[in-house]
Symmetry: C2
Subunit: 163 residues, 2 copies
């Protein structure tokens, strides 16, 4: 007993399993993301970040602030500024300064933006279904559960570092 404890302290711990898990998680995401990116470009000539941003706004009929968007998308503020600029330019987004706080920009989908997004989203959903087609409903449920646990664990770890 003491021996095994001693050994655990002296030798660096083996985390190869977690490392492999992380690489596999990354591979899955990269694979699917690349596939979705390619299909969006091919079918609709739209980029994935634009689609993602529109997806956020579609869920918020009253609009969102840039900060909200950047938190939800887990990207930097500066990133959102540029994305929004281009989407306003192309007529998909409407941007206005908040009446109550002049620092805040509220963005919404325009009619055009919403129509285009809905059209893309319908097809997008079938792509995703196809990409996950070989997973049984039980697999899906189980993956959901384990990824929820993973997310919680990672958030806890991140909070430990940056409280």
């Amino acid at each position: 007993m003491l021996d095994s404890e001693t050994k655990a302290v002296e030798t660096p711990e083996d985390h190869a399993e977690e490392l492999r898990l992380w690489l596999r998680l990354l591979t899955c995401t990269t694979l699917i993301e690349g596939e979705v990116r390619g299909r969006l470009r091919q079918r609709f000539d739209v980029t994935l970040p634009r689609f993602d941003l529109m997806a956020q706004l579609d869920k918020a009929p009253d609009g969102m602030t840039l900060s909200d968007v950047s938190k939800r998308m887990m990207v930097s503020n500066g990133n959102v500024t540029g994305l929004v600029e281009r989407l306003v330019e192309s007529g998909h987004l409407d941007r206005r300064t908040s009446d109550t706080d002049r620092r805040v920009q509220v963005i919404r989908l325009t009619k055009l933006g919403r129509a285009e997004f809905r059209r893309m989203a319908a097809e997008h959903e079938t792509w995703i279904a196809d990409l996950f087609a070989d997973l049984s409903p039980k697999d899906v449920r189980e993956l959901m559960r384990l990824l929820a646990k993973t997310k919680a664990s990672a958030q806890k770890s991140a909070a430990r570092r940056r409280p």
Copy 2:
């Protein structure tokens, strides 16, 4: 019976579960990736793509071609060209033209590159372990299994589209 079949054809199928699964998968990856990126920058002033490239080379003592790297990392050729340029410039990589095929560039870690990578990798492994800390060994095994299934499913779907 006929009714349910008819209905299945008439109404668009519901793939909301798969969509949620995909979003959760993406969230987990983004979360962990962002955390790793930040720690690499903070502790070693290195970017994640550079670290990833060095990780590939560390596993290949005899070097790799640029194509090999781009396939393994699942990024474009042009991307690798630029990454390698900067890593050669900083003295971490050695690049030489193959003796047998003058199209091919073989890259290796330099002594410096290997030393720095090993130092970073050791710490990196503990970060990953910490990020996944709340998962039991059984969870890890189960996630590995389900992600393997996911990867296979996605590859099959991708191949269906681009045979």
